[in-house]
Protein backbone atom coordinates (compact mmCIF):
# COMPACT_ATOMS: atom_id res chain seq x y z
CA UNK A 1 0.00 0.00 0.00
CA UNK A 2 2.17 2.75 -1.29
CA UNK A 3 -0.53 5.26 -0.36
CA UNK A 4 0.55 5.08 3.28
CA UNK A 5 4.21 5.47 2.39
CA UNK A 6 3.51 8.37 0.04
CA UNK A 7 1.25 10.06 2.60
CA UNK A 8 3.94 9.68 5.28
CA UNK A 9 6.45 11.33 2.94
CA UNK A 10 3.97 14.14 2.28
CA UNK A 11 3.38 14.73 6.00
CA UNK A 12 7.15 14.68 6.55
CA UNK A 13 7.90 17.32 3.92
CA UNK A 14 4.92 19.48 4.84
CA UNK A 15 5.72 19.41 8.57
CA UNK A 16 9.44 20.02 8.21
CA UNK A 17 9.57 22.35 5.21
CA UNK A 18 6.10 23.80 4.86
CA UNK A 19 3.12 23.38 2.53
CA UNK A 20 4.56 25.64 -0.16
CA UNK A 21 7.65 23.46 -0.52
CA UNK A 22 5.45 20.39 -0.82
CA UNK A 23 3.52 22.05 -3.64
CA UNK A 24 6.84 22.72 -5.35
CA UNK A 25 7.84 19.09 -4.93
CA UNK A 26 4.60 17.83 -6.45
CA UNK A 27 4.92 20.28 -9.32
CA UNK A 28 8.43 18.99 -9.95
CA UNK A 29 7.28 15.37 -9.75
CA UNK A 30 4.67 16.14 -12.42
CA UNK A 31 2.28 13.38 -11.38
CA UNK A 32 -0.96 15.28 -11.93
CA UNK A 33 -1.88 15.29 -8.24
CA UNK A 34 -1.03 17.71 -5.46
CA UNK A 35 -1.52 15.41 -2.51
CA UNK A 36 -1.73 11.71 -1.69
CA UNK A 37 -4.51 9.56 -0.28
CA UNK A 38 -3.31 7.12 2.39
CA UNK A 39 -5.91 4.55 1.43
CA UNK A 40 -5.33 4.49 -2.33
CA UNK A 41 -2.89 2.20 -4.13
CA UNK A 42 -0.14 3.78 -6.20
CA UNK A 43 2.51 2.39 -8.53
CA UNK A 44 6.02 2.09 -7.17
CA UNK A 45 7.29 4.65 -9.67
CA UNK A 46 5.19 7.32 -7.98
CA UNK A 47 7.23 7.06 -4.77
CA UNK A 48 10.43 7.14 -6.79
CA UNK A 49 9.28 10.26 -8.63
CA UNK A 50 8.43 12.01 -5.38
CA UNK A 51 11.77 11.16 -3.78
CA UNK A 52 13.57 12.42 -6.87
CA UNK A 53 11.56 15.63 -6.85
CA UNK A 54 12.28 16.17 -3.17
CA UNK A 55 16.03 15.93 -3.63
CA UNK A 56 15.80 18.42 -6.53
CA UNK A 57 13.56 20.94 -4.75
CA UNK A 58 15.10 20.68 -1.28
CA UNK A 59 18.64 20.29 -2.55
CA UNK A 60 19.38 17.38 -0.24
CA UNK A 61 20.57 13.98 -1.29
CA UNK A 62 18.05 11.17 -1.26
CA UNK A 63 20.09 9.38 1.40
CA UNK A 64 19.94 12.27 3.86
CA UNK A 65 16.31 12.89 3.13
CA UNK A 66 15.33 9.26 3.75
CA UNK A 67 17.25 9.21 7.01
CA UNK A 68 15.43 12.38 8.09
CA UNK A 69 12.20 10.64 7.21
CA UNK A 70 13.11 7.75 9.48
CA UNK A 71 13.83 10.14 12.33
CA UNK A 72 10.57 11.94 11.64
CA UNK A 73 8.56 8.70 11.82
CA UNK A 74 9.83 8.16 15.36
CA UNK A 75 10.11 11.68 16.72
CA UNK A 76 7.20 13.56 15.16
CA UNK A 77 4.14 14.28 17.28
CA UNK A 78 2.11 13.94 14.06
CA UNK A 79 2.75 10.19 14.00
CA UNK A 80 2.79 8.96 17.61
CA UNK A 81 1.62 5.44 16.83
CA UNK A 82 4.88 4.27 15.24
CA UNK A 83 7.06 5.25 18.19
CA UNK A 84 4.52 3.79 20.65
CA UNK A 85 4.63 0.43 18.90
CA UNK A 86 8.42 0.35 18.63
CA UNK A 87 8.90 1.32 22.29
CA UNK A 88 6.44 -1.33 23.34
CA UNK A 89 8.50 -3.92 21.53
CA UNK A 90 11.55 -3.43 23.70
CA UNK A 91 12.13 -2.68 27.37
CA UNK A 92 15.54 -1.30 26.47
CA UNK A 93 17.42 -0.47 23.28
CA UNK A 94 18.95 -3.91 22.82
CA UNK A 95 15.59 -5.53 23.41
CA UNK A 96 14.15 -3.15 20.83
CA UNK A 97 16.82 -4.13 18.29
CA UNK A 98 15.84 -7.76 18.69
CA UNK A 99 12.17 -6.93 18.27
CA UNK A 100 12.88 -5.43 14.83
CA UNK A 101 12.98 -8.89 13.30
CA UNK A 102 9.27 -9.24 13.98
CA UNK A 103 8.32 -5.78 12.77
CA UNK A 104 7.79 -6.50 9.04
CA UNK A 105 5.45 -9.40 9.89
CA UNK A 106 3.56 -7.36 12.46
CA UNK A 107 3.14 -4.51 9.98
CA UNK A 108 1.87 -6.94 7.36
CA UNK A 109 -0.58 -8.37 9.90
CA UNK A 110 -1.90 -4.92 10.65
CA UNK A 111 -1.87 -3.54 7.11
CA UNK A 112 -2.10 -6.40 4.62
CA UNK A 113 -0.88 -4.48 1.58
CA UNK A 114 2.24 -3.06 3.21
CA UNK A 115 5.02 -5.61 2.78
CA UNK A 116 8.22 -4.37 4.37
CA UNK A 117 11.35 -6.36 3.51
CA UNK A 118 12.74 -8.64 6.22
CA UNK A 119 15.11 -7.44 8.93
CA UNK A 120 17.76 -9.73 10.42
CA UNK A 121 19.70 -8.85 13.57
CA UNK A 122 23.13 -10.41 14.04
CA UNK A 123 24.71 -10.01 17.48
CA UNK A 124 28.53 -9.78 17.30
CA UNK A 125 29.15 -9.29 21.00
CA UNK A 126 30.55 -6.32 22.89
CA UNK A 127 27.51 -4.23 22.02
CA UNK A 128 28.06 -4.61 18.29
CA UNK A 129 25.11 -5.53 16.09
CA UNK A 130 24.44 -5.82 12.39
CA UNK A 131 20.95 -5.21 11.07
CA UNK A 132 20.49 -6.63 7.59
CA UNK A 133 17.72 -4.83 5.71
CA UNK A 134 16.62 -7.00 2.82
CA UNK A 135 15.98 -5.58 -0.61
CA UNK A 136 12.64 -4.79 -2.14
CA UNK A 137 11.96 -1.25 -0.96
CA UNK A 138 14.11 1.57 -2.23
CA UNK A 139 15.70 3.54 0.57
CA UNK A 140 14.70 1.03 3.26
CA UNK A 141 18.19 1.01 4.81
CA UNK A 142 18.36 4.79 5.02
CA UNK A 143 14.94 5.10 6.62
CA UNK A 144 15.79 2.36 9.16
CA UNK A 145 19.04 4.17 9.93
CA UNK A 146 17.03 7.26 10.86
CA UNK A 147 14.63 5.14 12.91
CA UNK A 148 17.45 3.45 14.82
CA UNK A 149 19.19 6.75 15.53
CA UNK A 150 15.99 8.36 16.81
CA UNK A 151 15.15 5.35 18.94
CA UNK A 152 18.61 5.39 20.50
CA UNK A 153 17.90 8.98 21.54
CA UNK A 154 14.51 7.93 22.80
CA UNK A 155 15.97 5.20 25.00
CA UNK A 156 18.71 7.53 26.20
CA UNK A 157 21.38 5.29 24.80
CA UNK A 158 24.59 6.34 23.14
CA UNK A 159 25.14 4.39 19.96
CA UNK A 160 27.21 4.77 16.82
CA UNK A 161 25.40 3.79 13.65
CA UNK A 162 26.60 3.33 10.10
CA UNK A 163 24.97 2.21 6.89
CA UNK A 164 26.54 0.19 4.09
CA UNK A 165 24.43 -0.03 0.99
CA UNK A 166 25.04 -2.90 -1.37
CA UNK A 167 24.30 -3.06 -5.07
CA UNK A 168 22.26 -6.18 -4.38
CA UNK A 169 19.88 -3.95 -2.48
CA UNK A 170 20.48 -5.57 0.89
CA UNK A 171 21.63 -2.80 3.20
CA UNK A 172 23.59 -3.38 6.39
CA UNK A 173 23.34 -1.12 9.42
CA UNK A 174 26.11 -1.41 12.01
CA UNK A 175 25.10 -0.51 15.53
CA UNK A 176 27.73 -0.09 18.21
CA UNK A 177 26.05 0.46 21.55
CA UNK A 178 28.52 2.47 23.57
CA UNK A 179 28.17 1.13 27.07
CA UNK A 180 30.50 3.20 29.12
CA UNK A 181 30.53 6.38 27.10
CA UNK A 182 29.80 8.73 29.94
CA UNK A 183 32.06 7.17 32.47
CA UNK A 184 34.87 7.04 29.95
CA UNK A 185 34.20 10.61 29.01
CA UNK A 186 34.23 11.80 32.59
CA UNK A 187 37.43 9.92 33.45
CA UNK A 188 39.17 11.39 30.47
CA UNK A 189 38.09 14.87 31.48
CA UNK A 190 39.30 14.45 35.08
CA UNK A 191 42.57 13.00 33.87
CA UNK A 192 43.13 16.03 31.64
CA UNK A 193 42.40 18.51 34.41
CA UNK A 194 44.69 16.82 36.94
CA UNK A 195 47.49 16.78 34.39
Amino acid sequence: MYGLINKAIEIFVTDTHGAARWQAVMAQADLGVTQFEAMLPYDAHVTDAVLQAISVVLGRSSAHMLEDLGTFLVASPSLPAFRRLLRFGGVDYVDFLHSLEDMPDRVRLAIGDLQLPALDLIEQGGGLYHLHCHSGLQGYGHVMLGVLRAMADDYGVLAVLDLDTHSSGRDNITVQVVQDAFSTGNAFKLGWVSA
Binding site: E37, A38, M39, R106, L109, A110
Partner: protein, 345 residues
Protein backbone atom coordinates in the same frame (compact mmCIF):
# COMPACT_ATOMS: atom_id res chain seq x y z
CA UNK B 1 5.83 -23.58 48.25
CA UNK B 2 5.42 -20.71 45.85
CA UNK B 3 8.86 -21.38 44.33
CA UNK B 4 7.46 -24.63 42.98
CA UNK B 5 5.11 -22.54 40.83
CA UNK B 6 7.63 -19.89 39.77
CA UNK B 7 7.07 -21.01 36.17
CA UNK B 8 3.74 -19.21 36.47
CA UNK B 9 5.59 -15.90 36.71
CA UNK B 10 6.91 -16.56 33.21
CA UNK B 11 3.84 -18.10 31.61
CA UNK B 12 1.16 -16.07 33.42
CA UNK B 13 2.75 -12.83 34.61
CA UNK B 14 -0.68 -11.53 35.69
CA UNK B 15 -1.56 -14.39 37.96
CA UNK B 16 -2.29 -14.43 41.68
CA UNK B 17 -2.16 -17.29 44.17
CA UNK B 18 -5.05 -17.16 46.67
CA UNK B 19 -5.51 -18.94 49.97
CA UNK B 20 -8.82 -20.59 50.83
CA UNK B 21 -9.97 -17.44 52.64
CA UNK B 22 -9.31 -15.27 49.56
CA UNK B 23 -6.07 -13.76 50.86
CA UNK B 24 -3.42 -13.08 48.20
CA UNK B 25 -0.36 -15.25 48.79
CA UNK B 26 1.65 -14.41 45.65
CA UNK B 27 1.32 -12.19 42.58
CA UNK B 28 2.99 -12.45 39.19
CA UNK B 29 5.37 -9.66 38.17
CA UNK B 30 2.98 -7.76 35.92
CA UNK B 31 0.13 -7.83 38.43
CA UNK B 32 2.62 -6.48 40.97
CA UNK B 33 3.47 -3.70 38.50
CA UNK B 34 -0.20 -2.76 38.31
CA UNK B 35 -0.23 -2.29 42.06
CA UNK B 36 3.15 -0.67 42.46
CA UNK B 37 1.92 1.65 45.20
CA UNK B 38 0.95 -1.09 47.63
CA UNK B 39 1.80 -4.68 48.27
CA UNK B 40 -1.07 -6.97 47.37
CA UNK B 41 0.32 -9.94 49.24
CA UNK B 42 -1.55 -10.50 52.47
CA UNK B 43 -4.61 -8.53 51.44
CA UNK B 44 -7.98 -9.94 50.45
CA UNK B 45 -8.44 -10.45 46.74
CA UNK B 46 -11.94 -8.99 46.77
CA UNK B 47 -10.59 -5.88 48.54
CA UNK B 48 -8.75 -4.94 45.37
CA UNK B 49 -10.94 -6.49 42.65
CA UNK B 50 -14.65 -6.69 41.91
CA UNK B 51 -16.13 -9.62 40.03
CA UNK B 52 -18.57 -8.01 37.59
CA UNK B 53 -19.60 -11.21 35.81
CA UNK B 54 -21.02 -13.53 37.07
CA UNK B 55 -22.95 -11.23 39.37
CA UNK B 56 -23.36 -11.35 43.14
CA UNK B 57 -19.88 -12.59 43.96
CA UNK B 58 -19.07 -10.77 47.19
CA UNK B 59 -17.48 -13.35 49.54
CA UNK B 60 -14.18 -15.16 49.23
CA UNK B 61 -16.02 -18.40 49.98
CA UNK B 62 -17.78 -18.15 46.61
CA UNK B 63 -14.55 -17.96 44.59
CA UNK B 64 -13.79 -21.67 44.50
CA UNK B 65 -17.20 -22.33 42.92
CA UNK B 66 -16.11 -20.20 39.94
CA UNK B 67 -13.36 -22.57 38.87
CA UNK B 68 -13.07 -22.92 35.11
CA UNK B 69 -15.57 -20.16 34.36
CA UNK B 70 -14.78 -17.01 32.35
CA UNK B 71 -14.78 -14.12 34.79
CA UNK B 72 -15.04 -10.41 34.18
CA UNK B 73 -13.42 -8.28 36.83
CA UNK B 74 -12.59 -4.68 37.52
CA UNK B 75 -9.95 -3.01 39.66
CA UNK B 76 -11.55 -1.34 42.67
CA UNK B 77 -8.98 1.45 42.68
CA UNK B 78 -8.37 3.88 39.86
CA UNK B 79 -7.72 3.29 37.05
CA UNK B 80 -10.71 0.95 37.02
CA UNK B 81 -9.40 -1.18 34.18
CA UNK B 82 -11.53 -4.09 33.03
CA UNK B 83 -10.01 -7.56 33.23
CA UNK B 84 -10.78 -11.10 32.22
CA UNK B 85 -9.94 -13.96 34.54
CA UNK B 86 -10.12 -17.66 35.25
CA UNK B 87 -9.67 -19.57 38.53
CA UNK B 88 -8.32 -23.09 39.00
CA UNK B 89 -7.77 -25.01 42.26
CA UNK B 90 -4.24 -24.79 43.64
CA UNK B 91 -2.50 -28.18 43.35
CA UNK B 92 -0.97 -28.09 46.82
CA UNK B 93 -2.56 -25.38 48.99
CA UNK B 94 -5.64 -26.72 50.76
CA UNK B 95 -8.65 -24.87 49.34
CA UNK B 96 -6.30 -22.50 47.59
CA UNK B 97 -6.71 -21.11 44.10
CA UNK B 98 -4.69 -19.80 41.20
CA UNK B 99 -6.28 -16.92 39.33
CA UNK B 100 -4.98 -15.79 35.93
CA UNK B 101 -5.88 -12.37 34.60
CA UNK B 102 -5.66 -10.65 31.24
CA UNK B 103 -6.66 -7.27 29.85
CA UNK B 104 -8.86 -8.41 27.00
CA UNK B 105 -10.25 -5.48 25.07
CA UNK B 106 -8.75 -2.96 27.50
CA UNK B 107 -5.20 -3.96 26.54
CA UNK B 108 -4.29 -0.78 24.64
CA UNK B 109 -5.59 1.49 27.40
CA UNK B 110 -3.86 -0.56 30.11
CA UNK B 111 -0.53 -0.55 28.28
CA UNK B 112 -0.66 3.24 28.13
CA UNK B 113 -1.89 3.77 31.69
CA UNK B 114 0.63 1.46 33.32
CA UNK B 115 3.49 2.06 30.86
CA UNK B 116 3.76 -1.62 30.05
CA UNK B 117 5.95 -3.12 27.39
CA UNK B 118 6.33 -6.46 25.66
CA UNK B 119 8.37 -8.01 28.47
CA UNK B 120 5.43 -7.58 30.83
CA UNK B 121 3.57 -10.20 28.83
CA UNK B 122 4.33 -13.86 28.29
CA UNK B 123 6.43 -14.53 25.15
CA UNK B 124 3.44 -16.44 23.81
CA UNK B 125 1.07 -13.56 24.43
CA UNK B 126 -0.53 -11.89 21.39
CA UNK B 127 -0.85 -8.45 22.96
CA UNK B 128 1.87 -6.90 20.80
CA UNK B 129 0.17 -8.17 17.64
CA UNK B 130 -3.14 -6.83 18.83
CA UNK B 131 -1.60 -3.42 19.51
CA UNK B 132 -0.25 -3.24 15.95
CA UNK B 133 -3.71 -4.12 14.67
CA UNK B 134 -5.40 -1.53 16.89
CA UNK B 135 -3.11 1.29 15.80
CA UNK B 136 -3.45 0.34 12.16
CA UNK B 137 -7.21 0.14 12.47
CA UNK B 138 -7.40 3.66 13.91
CA UNK B 139 -5.19 5.15 11.22
CA UNK B 140 -6.95 3.31 8.42
CA UNK B 141 -10.44 4.18 9.59
CA UNK B 142 -9.66 7.84 10.01
CA UNK B 143 -7.97 8.00 6.59
CA UNK B 144 -10.85 6.09 4.96
CA UNK B 145 -13.42 8.40 6.46
CA UNK B 146 -11.56 11.46 5.20
CA UNK B 147 -11.14 9.94 1.75
CA UNK B 148 -14.82 9.03 1.51
CA UNK B 149 -15.86 12.54 2.48
CA UNK B 150 -13.58 13.98 -0.19
CA UNK B 151 -14.82 11.53 -2.82
CA UNK B 152 -18.44 12.24 -2.01
CA UNK B 153 -17.83 15.96 -2.28
CA UNK B 154 -15.97 15.53 -5.55
CA UNK B 155 -18.71 13.33 -6.99
CA UNK B 156 -21.42 15.80 -6.03
CA UNK B 157 -19.48 18.58 -7.71
CA UNK B 158 -18.84 16.50 -10.81
CA UNK B 159 -22.51 15.60 -11.10
CA UNK B 160 -23.47 19.23 -10.73
CA UNK B 161 -20.97 20.26 -13.38
CA UNK B 162 -22.19 17.57 -15.77
CA UNK B 163 -25.68 18.97 -15.56
CA UNK B 164 -24.83 22.64 -15.76
CA UNK B 165 -24.51 24.90 -18.76
CA UNK B 166 -21.16 26.56 -18.26
CA UNK B 167 -22.07 29.91 -19.86
CA UNK B 168 -25.37 30.69 -18.16
CA UNK B 169 -25.19 28.55 -15.02
CA UNK B 170 -28.60 27.00 -15.65
CA UNK B 171 -29.06 23.27 -16.19
CA UNK B 172 -28.09 21.63 -19.45
CA UNK B 173 -29.96 18.90 -21.33
CA UNK B 174 -28.69 16.19 -18.99
CA UNK B 175 -29.89 18.13 -15.97
CA UNK B 176 -33.23 18.69 -17.67
CA UNK B 177 -33.69 14.99 -18.37
CA UNK B 178 -32.97 14.07 -14.78
CA UNK B 179 -35.37 16.73 -13.46
CA UNK B 180 -38.19 15.62 -15.76
CA UNK B 181 -37.58 11.97 -14.93
CA UNK B 182 -38.03 12.74 -11.24
CA UNK B 183 -41.24 14.69 -11.89
CA UNK B 184 -42.66 11.84 -13.98
CA UNK B 185 -41.64 9.26 -11.38
CA UNK B 186 -43.49 11.22 -8.73
CA UNK B 187 -46.45 11.55 -11.11
CA UNK B 188 -46.30 15.27 -10.52
CA UNK B 189 -48.10 17.63 -12.85
CA UNK B 190 -46.11 20.34 -14.59
CA UNK B 191 -45.93 22.75 -17.49
CA UNK B 192 -43.09 22.62 -20.02
CA UNK B 193 -42.16 25.70 -22.02
CA UNK B 194 -39.83 25.75 -25.01
CA UNK B 195 -38.31 29.22 -25.30
CA UNK B 196 -36.55 30.15 -28.54
CA UNK B 197 -34.77 33.51 -28.83
CA UNK B 198 -35.74 35.52 -31.92
CA UNK B 199 -33.16 37.34 -34.06
CA UNK B 200 -30.33 35.98 -31.93
CA UNK B 201 -28.20 34.98 -34.90
CA UNK B 202 -28.07 38.58 -36.03
CA UNK B 203 -26.53 39.62 -32.72
CA UNK B 204 -23.74 37.05 -33.02
CA UNK B 205 -23.10 37.87 -36.66
CA UNK B 206 -23.09 41.64 -36.18
CA UNK B 207 -21.65 42.18 -32.71
CA UNK B 208 -19.70 39.01 -32.15
CA UNK B 209 -19.98 36.11 -29.78
CA UNK B 210 -19.14 38.06 -26.63
CA UNK B 211 -22.25 40.16 -27.14
CA UNK B 212 -24.25 37.05 -27.93
CA UNK B 213 -23.00 35.36 -24.77
CA UNK B 214 -24.08 38.31 -22.69
CA UNK B 215 -27.57 38.24 -24.21
CA UNK B 216 -27.84 34.55 -23.37
CA UNK B 217 -26.76 35.15 -19.79
CA UNK B 218 -29.23 37.96 -19.34
CA UNK B 219 -32.05 35.98 -20.92
CA UNK B 220 -31.28 33.01 -18.65
CA UNK B 221 -31.35 35.29 -15.61
CA UNK B 222 -34.75 36.72 -16.66
CA UNK B 223 -36.17 33.22 -16.95
CA UNK B 224 -34.72 32.25 -13.56
CA UNK B 225 -36.31 35.35 -12.01
CA UNK B 226 -39.75 34.57 -13.40
CA UNK B 227 -39.72 31.02 -12.09
CA UNK B 228 -39.80 29.80 -8.48
CA UNK B 229 -36.87 28.15 -6.74
CA UNK B 230 -38.15 24.62 -7.24
CA UNK B 231 -38.76 25.10 -10.98
CA UNK B 232 -36.16 24.56 -13.67
CA UNK B 233 -34.48 26.57 -16.40
CA UNK B 234 -32.36 24.58 -18.84
CA UNK B 235 -30.40 25.57 -21.92
CA UNK B 236 -30.80 22.89 -24.57
CA UNK B 237 -29.47 24.56 -27.70
CA UNK B 238 -27.57 27.61 -28.87
CA UNK B 239 -30.43 29.96 -28.15
CA UNK B 240 -33.07 27.51 -26.90
CA UNK B 241 -34.26 27.03 -23.36
CA UNK B 242 -36.75 24.72 -21.67
CA UNK B 243 -38.64 25.92 -18.61
CA UNK B 244 -40.35 23.52 -16.21
CA UNK B 245 -42.99 24.78 -13.84
CA UNK B 246 -44.19 22.24 -11.32
CA UNK B 247 -47.85 22.13 -10.39
CA UNK B 248 -51.23 21.46 -11.92
CA UNK B 249 -51.21 24.69 -13.91
CA UNK B 250 -53.93 26.38 -15.89
CA UNK B 251 -53.22 27.68 -19.37
CA UNK B 252 -53.86 31.27 -18.25
CA UNK B 253 -51.31 31.16 -15.50
CA UNK B 254 -48.63 29.60 -17.70
CA UNK B 255 -49.46 32.09 -20.42
CA UNK B 256 -48.96 34.94 -18.00
CA UNK B 257 -45.50 33.72 -17.08
CA UNK B 258 -44.66 33.26 -20.76
CA UNK B 259 -45.84 36.76 -21.58
CA UNK B 260 -43.67 38.29 -18.87
CA UNK B 261 -40.62 36.42 -20.17
CA UNK B 262 -41.31 37.62 -23.71
CA UNK B 263 -41.78 41.20 -22.59
CA UNK B 264 -38.63 41.31 -20.49
CA UNK B 265 -36.40 39.64 -23.06
CA UNK B 266 -37.70 41.96 -25.76
CA UNK B 267 -36.70 44.87 -23.53
CA UNK B 268 -33.06 43.78 -23.32
CA UNK B 269 -30.73 46.50 -24.53
CA UNK B 270 -28.31 44.95 -26.99
CA UNK B 271 -26.91 48.15 -28.46
CA UNK B 272 -27.25 51.75 -27.28
CA UNK B 273 -29.03 52.86 -30.41
CA UNK B 274 -31.53 49.98 -30.15
CA UNK B 275 -30.80 49.00 -33.75
CA UNK B 276 -30.49 45.40 -32.75
CA UNK B 277 -32.87 43.71 -30.38
CA UNK B 278 -33.83 40.20 -29.47
CA UNK B 279 -37.15 38.70 -28.59
CA UNK B 280 -38.39 35.20 -27.95
CA UNK B 281 -41.11 32.82 -29.00
CA UNK B 282 -42.57 30.26 -26.66
CA UNK B 283 -44.37 26.95 -27.15
CA UNK B 284 -45.80 25.31 -24.03
CA UNK B 285 -47.47 22.04 -23.05
CA UNK B 286 -49.14 20.82 -19.88
CA UNK B 287 -48.11 17.35 -18.66
CA UNK B 288 -51.73 16.28 -18.35
CA UNK B 289 -52.24 16.84 -22.06
CA UNK B 290 -49.69 14.24 -23.08
CA UNK B 291 -50.48 10.67 -22.21
CA UNK B 292 -48.25 9.06 -21.12
CA UNK B 293 -46.11 12.09 -20.15
CA UNK B 294 -42.96 10.91 -21.89
CA UNK B 295 -40.15 13.43 -22.37
CA UNK B 296 -39.95 12.97 -26.12
CA UNK B 297 -43.66 13.52 -26.65
CA UNK B 298 -43.76 16.49 -24.30
CA UNK B 299 -40.98 18.15 -26.28
CA UNK B 300 -42.69 17.34 -29.56
CA UNK B 301 -45.91 18.93 -28.34
CA UNK B 302 -44.10 22.02 -27.08
CA UNK B 303 -42.27 22.24 -30.39
CA UNK B 304 -45.51 22.16 -32.30
CA UNK B 305 -46.79 25.04 -30.20
CA UNK B 306 -43.51 26.89 -30.69
CA UNK B 307 -43.81 26.39 -34.43
CA UNK B 308 -47.22 27.99 -34.25
CA UNK B 309 -45.78 30.96 -32.34
CA UNK B 310 -43.08 31.49 -34.95
CA UNK B 311 -45.54 31.07 -37.77
CA UNK B 312 -47.86 33.66 -36.29
CA UNK B 313 -45.18 36.33 -36.26
CA UNK B 314 -42.86 35.44 -33.35
CA UNK B 315 -42.69 37.18 -30.01
CA UNK B 316 -45.67 35.31 -28.69
CA UNK B 317 -46.77 32.42 -26.50
CA UNK B 318 -48.70 29.38 -27.73
CA UNK B 319 -50.12 26.54 -25.59
CA UNK B 320 -50.34 23.09 -27.13
CA UNK B 321 -53.94 22.07 -27.77
CA UNK B 322 -54.50 18.33 -27.20
CA UNK B 323 -57.77 18.41 -29.12
CA UNK B 324 -55.91 18.78 -32.35
CA UNK B 325 -53.79 15.72 -31.50
CA UNK B 326 -50.64 17.47 -32.59
CA UNK B 327 -51.93 18.42 -36.03
CA UNK B 328 -52.77 22.08 -35.76
CA UNK B 329 -55.85 23.22 -37.64
CA UNK B 330 -55.11 25.37 -40.68
CA UNK B 331 -57.17 28.27 -39.35
CA UNK B 332 -56.01 29.48 -35.98
CA UNK B 333 -57.97 31.80 -33.80
CA UNK B 334 -55.48 33.74 -31.75
CA UNK B 335 -56.63 35.91 -28.93
CA UNK B 336 -54.67 39.01 -28.06
CA UNK B 337 -52.39 37.05 -25.80
CA UNK B 338 -51.38 34.75 -28.60
CA UNK B 339 -53.13 31.72 -27.17
CA UNK B 340 -54.79 29.23 -29.43
CA UNK B 341 -58.42 29.28 -28.52
CA UNK B 342 -60.47 26.16 -28.85
CA UNK B 343 -61.60 25.82 -32.44
CA UNK B 344 -65.11 26.96 -32.88
CA UNK B 345 -67.49 24.08 -33.61
Amino acid sequence: MTSQLSFLDVMCPMHAVLAADGRIVHVGPTLRKLHSSSDLVGTGFLDSFDVTRPQNITRAGQLLSLCGKTLHLKRRHAPHVGLKGVIVPHPTIEGGMILNLSFGISAAEAVRRFALNNSDFAPTDLTVEMLYLLEAKSVVMAASRRLNERLLEARTQAEKQAETDALTGVENRRGLERFVARLIARQAAFALLHVDLDHFKAVNDTLGHDAGDMVLQQAAQIMRDELRDGDLVARVGGDEFILLIEGDMQTDAVGAIGSRVITRISALTVTEDHQLSVGCSIGAVLSRHVDPPVMQDLLKAADLALYASKGAGRGRFTMFDPMSHGALPAQQVLDDRGLIAKPAR
